[in-house]
């Protein structure tokens, strides 16, 4: 409670904060937040919303709770199903409307839908500019590492987040409660584990001893109610979260006296215009104690009442109760509507789940309707990275359309399967299905489906570096798309043709790509915009135009972050890692590769790039485990059959063989990729692998197509080659070229290798120099970060700077928007690192060593 007060003071000072209140079920999260809100509801504006335990949660459920508590246009916007961005902005406007501080509580977000999570992220990013406190509660023990909530929390700006983890009661705390209740029960602490809710229930159960589970405690309390009151209790138990009074009246019309009995027994309580269990655990206990038949009939009663109410906001709840009541007609009627509503709010995960429920009850549905449900589900799964599920649903749809003899839908589904297979890294299947789609659709009069099937083929050829075919199929797609005015297909096709042409050295291609990007941005086609950004960036990179590449890499990462396009962002980060690698900024490579590989569901394509560059980095540094990651990358890359995935892995393996002196392997591996590069007419890769064979003493024909630096190198002009690499900004390649030169050049190469930390290449060159009798071989400068000799982190430097200003831990915590406990921890680390016994001593050491003087300006918080 005290921590909440401290944070509220900071918020009242003008910079808002997100507070995460966590702990297991029954630990007292709600109670704490309620007390806090009660204490401030006269001065601050308090809004309250909760997520509930529906099988498929309501999109923006908590916001529907909050909207009626505001006087603004929020409710109108929600009712009109306004576009999401305007709803989100309206929430921020509402919070900023008056000068008063606002406290917004969103409870139980471990059950949140995707749209609500997006809203929390949206608010979290803007909170520091609003006088508002956003309290989020969740059960941290029910949020596994791959839960979407983790991503949202990870993305919140650290400075504006505070965490409050509630711990169980201590043994003496439990004893105090027991004494206060006038009871003395043995083992109460051991059995309840100090869970406050369990303790309260156990103390209220009145029986001898302690009920062995929280469920027994709740049931024994409920057993003392009259049968009529118990019936009310049972109905309330099948409704997640809380039961509105109107719902109760429309379903069983209970006598007021019965409600009173439930409330006075301490099991239910009033919450505004609703009634609810005092705790979710109690609701579950009662609901689980019902017979299947009884439970179904109660769900049916609730379903009827909800349907009669006829409101869109109730859709998710209707579907939930229809499924629980086993009412397939209602599920089939409402689940697809709920799915569309969820998708419109960008709650794609929930949408996919609603379609899934509908399909479970679709046994008697007309085949055509079923096929459409599968198509919708596939699309929603595809958008939420449930790629295997997306593929399965497409296959089901395809089968049905085949049975029905509908060629148009067959063709379109084949095209989709091709696309999904590519995502799964299966190049061969992607190609087969892509060709089949075109074959089926070409027999019909041309339409948008055919245009898209052409464009899909163009895309596959482009990705496989079959540029002529890509341009051929893509141009057909462009022509058709223009004739139908199908902008989205046009954007797609322009991208494919543009990338293929640009990569072939034709600047027309870049113009097409930029047009695709412009159209995508203008029409808010976010996926297409991201693809245009990435294709310009990675093509520029493959052409070694680092300046242009980095410009698009940066815009792409900013754009994909802003629009939550995680897959595209990770893909771009993998290319950024490669760009840094080639430009000799190796420490940055490891940072990007590590963050990509720590994501669970990263796509195969992105993983290949990250593994390849990490493996290559280890080869050049002489670090262990290069082979391990390269083997994994190679296996995945071979499956895609794409030159641009295979070449980086091969490049690392070839270099590794060369550094070990295994020239035969160099020639064998390089020859394989060289042939592929020739087939696909990729000059840079042609040059790279030809020069490896040349270096290893193999036979090689010097073609005109080989780019300048490689051509110069192979013709013996190492000086000009080194200069060319220097101009391009590739220091390692520059050093490789210099190593072919005279003694002075070789010493210069050694200095570069040492600076980069390229141990094996340096060692190899030193060996050459020694064997030719050169003396005074230089030792290059060692990379070290002298600016911070004590090894303090940025955060610790910030704390140190504030210590120097004489601030106490509480004040520092407030300045840095974090808990006092965290600051305590930082301070003790700083003392240890500076070998100081007191804070004053730490500050004086810091000044003596120059640590504070030189960092003071940059690290003092503004």
């Amino acid at each position: 409670m005290d921590e909440l007060e401290v944070i509220l003071q900071a918020v009242a000072g003008g910079s808002g904060r997100v507070v995460l209140v966590t702990g297991e079920a029954g630990i007292g999260k709600t109670t704490l937040v309620e007390r806090f809100a009660e204490r401030h509801n006269t001065k601050a504006r308090v809004f309250w919303g909760a997520c509930d335990a529906l099988f498929t949660p309501r999109p923006l459920g908590p916001l529907y709770d909050i909207a009626p508590q505001t006087q603004g246009e929020l409710l109108t916007l929600l009712e009109q199903q306004a576009p999401r961005p305007s709803i989100f902005s309206a929430v921020v406007d509402e919070l900023q409307k008056t000068k008063a501080t606002s406290i917004t509580v969103v409870e139980d977000v471990h059950w949140a839908d995707e749209a609500t999570l997006d809203l929390l992220k949206f608010l979290g990013r803007r909170i520091s500019r609003i006088k508002s406190m956003l309290i989020i509660t969740y059960r941290d023990d029910e949020v596994p590492p791959d839960h979407p909530l983790r991503l949202v929390l990870g993305d919140l700006p650290h400075r504006s987040v505070a965490r409050l983890r509630l711990l169980p009661l201590s043994e003496s705390g439990v004893n105090t409660l027991a004494e206060r209740a006038g009871r003395r029960i043995e083992d109460l602490y051991e059995v309840t584990g100090g869970n406050p809710f369990f303790v309260t229930e156990a103390l209220a159960s009145k029986g001898a001893g302690i009920p062995s589970t929280v469920r027994d405690a709740v049931l024994s309390r409920a057993a003392r109610l009259s049968p009529a009151s118990r019936a009310v209790l049972e109905l309330v138990s099948v409704v997640p979260a809380r039961t509105q009074m109107w719902l109760l009246d429309d379903s069983i019309r209970p006598d007021a006296a019965l409600l009173e009995e439930c409330v006075s027994s301490g099991i239910l309580r009033y919450e505004g215009d609703a009634i609810a269990f005092r705790h979710e655990l109690a609701r579950r206990a009662i609901a689980d104690s019902l017979s299947v038949h009884r439970r179904q009939s109660l769900h049916a009663l609730v379903l009827t009442a909800l349907v009669n109410r006829g409101s869109d906001a109730l859709l998710a709840r209707i579907v939930h109760h229809a499924a629980q009541a086993g009412n397939s007609a209602s599920v089939l009627k409402y689940a697809p509507v709920a799915a569309r509503q969820a998708a419109a709010l960008s709650a794609h995960r929930e949408s996919a789940s609603h379609y899934q429920i509908a399909l479970q009850y679709a046994g008697e549905l007309a085949l055509e309707e079923r096929a459409k449900l599968f198509e919708h589900r596939s699309y929603e799964c595809f958008l939420t990275d449930q790629t295997e599920e997306a593929l399965q649903a497409r296959r089901e749809a395809l089968e049905i359309w085949k049975q029905l003899g509908n060629h148009l839908r067959q063709g379109d589904n084949l095209r989709w399967i091709s696309r999904i297979q590519w995502f799964l890294g299966c190049g061969m299947e992607a190609e087969t299905f892509g060709n089949e789609a075109v074959g089926v659709l070409e027999k019909l009069p041309p339409g948008p489906e055919l245009a898209m099937a052409y464009s899909n083929r163009a895309q596959l050829h482009m990705l496989a570096d079959e540029r002529e075919k890509a341009v051929l199929w893509g141009s057909r797609a462009i022509e058709l798309a223009r004739s139908f005015g199908a902008t989205e297909i046009l954007v797609h096709a322009l991208n494919n043709v543009g990338t293929a042409e640009y990569l072939g050295g034709n600047d027309e291609g870049r113009v097409k790509l930029e047009e695709s990007l412009r159209l995508a941005l203008a029409n808010n086609f976010q996926e297409h915009a991201a693809r245009a950004f990435t294709n310009i960036a990675d093509t520029a990179l493959r052409l070694h135009d680092y300046k242009l590449a980095m410009r698009y890499v940066d815009s792409c990462i900013a754009y994909t972050t802003e629009h939550d396009l995680l897959a595209a962002k990770l893909y771009m980060m993998a290319w950024r890692a490669r760009a840094h690698f080639e430009q000799g900024e190796w420490d940055k490579v490891a940072d990007d590769a590590d963050s990509i590989l720590s994501v669970d569901r990263v796509s195969a394509i992105t993983k290949i790039s990250a593994l390849a560059v990490l493996g290559h980095l280890r080869v050049r540094r002489g670090d262990p485990h290069a082979e391990r990651v390269l083997n994994e990358a190679r296996e995945l890359a071979m499956q895609t059959r794409e030159l641009q995935r295979i070449a980086p892995v091969a490049s690392a393996r070839v270099e590794s063989a060369w550094l070990k002196g295994d020239v035969e392997q160099v020639i064998r591996e390089a020859r394989f990729v060289l042939e592929m590069a020739k087939t696909h007419d990729d000059p840079w890769l042609h040059g790279q692998f030809a020069s490896w064979i040349w270096r290893a003493g193999g036979d090689i024909e010097i073609s005109e197509k080989i780019p300048t630096p490689y051509a110069l190198q192979m013709s013996g002009n190492w000086r000009a080659a080194a200069e060319a690499w220097k101009q391009l900004g590739c220091p390692y390649e520059e050093a490789i070229a210099l190593a072919d030169g005279d003694e002075t050049a070789q010493c210069a190469a050694l200095v570069i290798f040492e600076r980069l930390g390229a141990g094996p290449a340096a060692e190899r060159l030193r060996h050459v120099l020694r064997s030719t009798g050169v003396r005074g071989i230089p030792r290059g400068p060692r990379p070290s970060t002298k600016q911070n000799p004590a090894g303090l982190t940025t955060r610790q430097m910030e704390v140190l700077a504030l210590l120097a200003q004489g601030l106490g831990n509480a004040e520092i915590a407030e300045r840095l928007f974090t808990s006092i406990r965290t600051i305590d921890h930082h301070v003790s680390t700083i003392l240890a690192k500076l070998d100081a016994r007191t804070r004053a001593e730490a500050v004086s050491h810091a000044f003596q060593s120059g640590l504070l003087k030189q960092n003071r300006q940059s690290s003092a918080p503004n």
């Binding site: 590769a593 590590d594 540094r621 070290s784 970060t785 090894g791």
Partner: protein, 90 residues
Amino acid sequence: MGRYLVERSFPEGLKISINDEGAAMCRMIALNNAEDGVTWIHSYVSDDRKKTYCICDAPSPEAIRRASRRNNLPIDRIRDVRILNPYFYQ
């Protein structure tokens, strides 16, 4: 988590004294390591103090490099190693 041998060179000799100052320095290094999940087990120092061989557990070679960067410690080479104990066969 793997076990690694990290070779380092100190051309001017490693300056670490056997007193409070030395203890503090080791503590600082351990703290910096911990931030990257690196555990320094022990080191062997050559007689002229120009080479050290450090045994540590780490999630990856990159983690060792990151931690060493913060500690201002040079790296010549990182090798992954296994334990071989002469009494194992007895």
